[in-house]
C-alpha cells in the first residue's frame, strides 16, 4: 500500500512515506535498506591494499612511507581502538632512523572505518593538498600510509617526524546514505596524549555529494596557516573559523 504523502520526500532524505504491507515494509523498501547496509558493512570490513595505494602515491610524484600498527585484522581494529593509535616496533624504528629535513606537515593516510572512502577519494585529495601546500612553501614529509589506524595515530607519527603539524586523512564511519566519506584531522605540535579538543576537523569529503577535494584542501591550508600563526589547534582555532573560511572558499 503506497502512502499518499510521498511528495514530502522532496523535503528530506529520511525514509518517509515508505508505504506498507500490513504493518511491515513493502519489499522494495526492505531490500533498498538491505543494500545500503550491505555497502556500509563492506566499507568497514574490506581490508585496505596499502602496497597498491603506495604505488599510486609514487605515480603522483609524492614520497610514500608504509607503516603499521600492532593490529593484524579488522576485527581487532574494531575492538581495540587503543592499538589503532600506536605504531608497531618495526615502524617506530623506521621513523626514528629515517633521515629527514625540517617538516612542517606530517601527512598520514589511514583507512579508518571505511576502506571504500580511501580507495575512492584519498589520491585526488592528496594531490589537491600537495598543490595547496606547495603554493605556500609548506614542507611536507613523506606521505605515511597506515592500515587500521585511528585519528590519534597522527600524534606519534607527527612526533616521530618532528613535524610542526600532523594531518591525518581517515575513512569515516559509514552511514546508510554514505559509505565513502573521508575526514581530515589537524593537530598542532603532535605528541601522544593530545586530546580531540586540540584538533580541528574537516568532515564529509566525498564529491560530488559532499565537500570537494579542492575545497577541502583550501580549508586545510587555511587551518594549517592559522594554526602555525596561533601556535595551536583545536578549540582555540575554532572561534574565528567559519566566516573567514567561507570567504576563502568562495
Amino acid at each position: 500500500m503506497n502512502d499518499r504523502w510521498s511528495d514530502l520526500r522532496t523535503l528530506t532524505q529520511a525514509r518517509i512515506a515508505l508505504g506498507r504491507a500490513g504493518h511491515a515494509l513493502p519489499t522494495t523498501a526492505l531490500l533498498d535498506f538491505q543494500l545500503a547496509h550491505a555497502s556500509a558493512r563492506d566499507a568497514v570490513h574490506k581490508p585496505w591494499n596499502v602496497a597498491a595505494f603506495a604505488e599510486e602515491v609514487y605515480k603522483l610524484g609524492l614520497q610514500a612511507l608504509v607503516l603499521s600498527t600492532p593490529l593484524t585484522n579488522r576485527v581487532e581494529y574494531l575492538k581495540r581502538p587503543d592499538l589503532g593509535q600506536v605504531l608497531d616496533q618495526e615502524s617506530e624504528l623506521k621513523l626514528e632512523t629515517l633521515p629527514h629535513e625540517d617538516i612542517d606537515v606530517a601527512l598520514i593516510v589511514t583507512n579508518g572505518l571505511s576502506s571504500t572512502a580511501v580507495d575512492k577519494h584519498a589520491l585526488p585529495l592528496l594531490l589537491a593538498i600537495a598543490d595547496a601546500y606547495h603554493g605556500h612553501s609548506l614542507r611536507l614529509g613523506p606521505v605515511c600510509l597506515v592500515a587500521n589506524g585511528r585519528v590519534a595515530l597522527s600524534d606519534s607519527i607527527g612526533k616521530g617526524l618532528d613535524a610542526r603539524l600532523a594531518v591525518v586523512v581517515v575513512g569515516e564511519r559509514p552511514g546508510l546514505s554514505a559509505d565513502d566519506s573521508l575526514g581530515l584531522y589537524i593537530t598542532y605540535a603532535p605528541r601522544p596524549g593530545r586530546s580531540n579538543a586540540e584538533r580541528n576537523c574537516i568532515s564529509n569529503i566525498r564529491p560530488p555529494a559532499g565537500l570537494g577535494y579542492e575545497q577541502a584542501a583550501r580549508k586545510l591550508l587555511y587551518l594549517t596557516r592559522e594554526s602555525i600563526r596561533l601556535n595551536g589547534s583545536g578549540i582555540l582555532l575554532k572561534d574565528q573559523m567559519p566566516a573567514q573560511v567561507v570567504a576563502t572558499l568562495r
Binding site: 504523502w5 523535503l11 528530506t12 529520511a14 518517509i16 511491515a24 547496509h37 574494531l78 575492538k79 564511519r173
Partner: protein, 462 residues
C-alpha cells in the same frame, strides 16, 4: 576485602568487590577494553558462583567508590530506604534472584530499598528469560500530557532528526511518524547543533504542531541541559528537560552536568507548569560504556556504571529514561548478542529501580549486528514490558548515522503482542482517523485532517 573460590584444585582470586562484579559480568567488549573482563569463561562462571554468595547488605557496607569522592555514591546511600529493603535484607545475591522469581506480585514497593549495585549484581547471574520475567512485574506509570507505562501499553518516541535541522524536513518526518501512530512518549529531536536560536526554532515548530492538532503528547529538543535552561529563561516552549547522564560524578562532569544543575533545571521546568496530567518532565538517556569512554569508570564494569546512572535518573522523577544500547560502538558492545544482553539488563535494572525504562534498540554500521538482531531485542523487550522504543523513518537516522527501530517496527510489536499506545494518544489517533479503533492503522488514514493541514508543506501534496 578480597574474594576467592577453589574449583577443581584451582583457586580463583578476585581483588575486591569491583573486580568480582566485573569478572562475573557476561562478556562484552567494554570490559575487555577496560582490562576488567574475566580471563576465561571458567573464571567468569566461578565469579558468578562467588557473587551469588555475597549478601545484598555488602553493597551498603562497601561502596564501590568512596562516597567522599563521588556524589553519585553519596546519592545512592542517601536514597536507600531500610524499610523498603527489610523484606530482602537478609538475602544473598543468589537468594535474591530466587526471591524475585518466586514471587508473583508487583515489585514497585521494593524499588527504594534496592541500590543499583544490588540490582546489577543480581542481573549478572540471571538468564535473559529471568530478566524478562521479573521486569514484566514492575509497573511504572508517569504523566505529563498523557499516561505512559500502563499495563498492556507500549509508547514510542518519534525521532524526526535532520542533518541540518531543516524545519521542513523535520516537519515532514514528524507528520510521517504521526500518520504511522508514533509519538506518544515524546516527539524528540536530536539537534545537529546546540545553537540557541536553532533549538528555539525547533521547539516552536514542535509546539505549534502539537498545539494546532491538540496532540496529547510532549515535545523535546535534546540539547544540553544548560542550553535548555537558557531557553526556558528566554521563554521558549520547553515541555521536557533532556540530559545524557552516567553513573559516576566524573563521567557526569565530562557531560558538563552535576546533580545540582539537574535539580535547578527541573525546578525551572516545573515552574513553567506545562504538564496537564502530571509533572514528570525530565528525560534522560544513558548507555553502557559511557563512563569508560570518559575515562571515569573507577575500575567498575560497564553494566554497574550504567545501573548507577539510574540512581541519578530516579532522583528527578523522570517522564522517560532510555538506554541507547548499541549506539556507542563495537569496542563497547561488539555484536548483536552483546547488544541484546545489555538491552535486557538495562531494562531490568531500570525497572526494578522504579524508572519508566525505554530502550533505543540500535546499532552502528561497524558493529556485528543488523536489523534482525534489532527485531530480536525489540520482541524480547516487548515481552518484558518495555515502556517505549524509538520511531525513526525506515530505521535510518540520517543525522546521527545509526540504525534504530522504525514506525513500522512499533506497529509490528503492537500487532504480535497486542500492545496499545498511551490511552489519551490512542483516542487521538482514532479521532484523527489514523487508527481504526482496533489498534491497527486505518485504511482511511489518507483522509485524516492532519494530512490536508500539512499539505502545503511541500507545496503540492494531497
Amino acid at each position: 576485602m578480597s574474594y576467592s573460590a577453589t574449583v577443581a584444585n584451582r583457586t580463583y582470586r578476585f581483588r575486591d568487590l569491583r573486580a568480582l562484579l566485573a569478572a562475573a559480568s557476561p562478556l562484552r567488549s567494554a570490559d575487555e577494553l577496560a582490562g576488567l573482563a574475566a580471563a576465561s569463561e571458567k573464571e567468569r562462571a566461578v565469579a558468578q558462583r562467588v557473587l551469588a554468595e555475597v549478601p545484598l547488605r555488602k553493597f551498603l557496607e562497601e561502596p564501590l567508590i568512596p562516597p567522599e569522592q563521588d556524589e553519585v555514591s553519596r546519592l545512592i546511600l542517601e536514597q536507600h530506604d531500610p524499610v523498603a529493603f527489610a523484606p530482602v535484607a537478609s538475602l544473598s545475591v543468589g537468594e535474591f534472584r530466587e526471591w524475585l522469581l518466586s514471587n508473583s506480585g508487583d515489585l514497585g514497593a521494593l524499588s527504594w530499598g534496592l541500590t543499583p549495585e544490588m540490582v546489577a549484581a543480581t542481573s549478572k547471574i540471571m538468564r535473559n528469560q529471568d530478566l524478562i520475567a521479573v521486569a514484566r512485574r514492575c509497573n511504572v506509570v508517569t504523566r505529563f500530557r498523557n499516561s505512559i507505562g500502563l499495563p498492556g501499553r507500549l509508547s514510542t518516541r518519534l525521532q524526526p532528526n535532520h542533518p541540518t535541522d531543516d524545519p521542513k524536513g523535520i516537519a515532514a518526518s514528524t507528520l510521517d511518524g504521526l500518520l504511522y501512530g508514533s509519538g506518544d512518549a515524546v516527539i524528540g529531536i536530536n539537534p545537529a547543533t546546540d545553537n540557541l536560536e536553532n533549538v528555539h526554532t525547533l521547539l516552536n515548530l514542535l509546539d505549534e504542531m502539537r498545539a494546532r492538532y491538540e496532540i496529547p503528547t510532549q515535545s523535546c529538543v535534546l540539547s544540553h541541559v544548560t542550553t535548555t535552561m537558557e531557553l526556558m529563561q528566554r521563554g521558549s516552549p520547553v515541555d521536557l528537560v533532556f540530559q545524557s547522564i552516567a553513573g559516576t560524578e566524573a563521567a557526569n562532569r565530562s557531560f558538563g552536568v552535576d546533580l545540582s544543575t539537574l535539580r535547578e533545571a527541573r525546578q525551572m521546568a516545573l515552574e513553567l507548569n506545562r504538564g496537564t496530567l502530571g509533572d514528570n518532565l525530565m528525560y534522560f538517556e544513558t548507555g553502557q560504556g559511557s563512563a569508560l569512554s570518559a575515562g571515569a569508570h573507577h575500575g567498575i564494569d560497564a553494566q554497574i556504571c550504567e545501573a548507577r546512572a539510574y540512581a541519578v535518573a530516579r532522583e528527578f522523577s523522570p517522564l522517560l529514561v532510555n538506554t541507547v544500547v548499541g549506539f556507542i560502538g563495537p569496542e563497547y558492545l561488539y555484536d548483536g548478542k552483546q547488544i541484546i544482553r545489555a538491552g535486557l539488563e538495562d531494562h531490568f535494572c531500570g525497572k526494578l529501580l522504579g524508572l519508566p525504562m525505554g530502550c533505543d534498540v540500535c546499532y552502528t554500521n561497524h558493529a556485528e549486528a543488523d536489523q534482525n538482531d534489532m527485531d530480536n531485542l525489540l520482541t524480547l523487550l516487548g515481552v518484558a514490558g518495555c515502556t517505549y522504543v524509538m520511531g525513526i523513518p525506515g530505521s535510518d537516522d540520517i543525522m546521527l548515522a545509526y540504525q534504530s527501530t522504525s514506525f513500522h517496527d512499533a506497529l509490528y510489536l503492537r500487532q504480535v503482542l497486542g500492545l496499545r499506545p498511551a490511552p489519551e494518544f490512542e483516542a487521538w489517533l482514532v479521532r484523527m482517523g489514523i487508527f481504526d479503533g482496533r489498534n491497527t492503522l486505518s485504511d482511511q488514514r489518507s483522509n485524516t485532517p492532519l494530512l490536508s493541514a500539512f499539505g502545503n508543506l511541500s507545496g503540492g501534496t494531497t
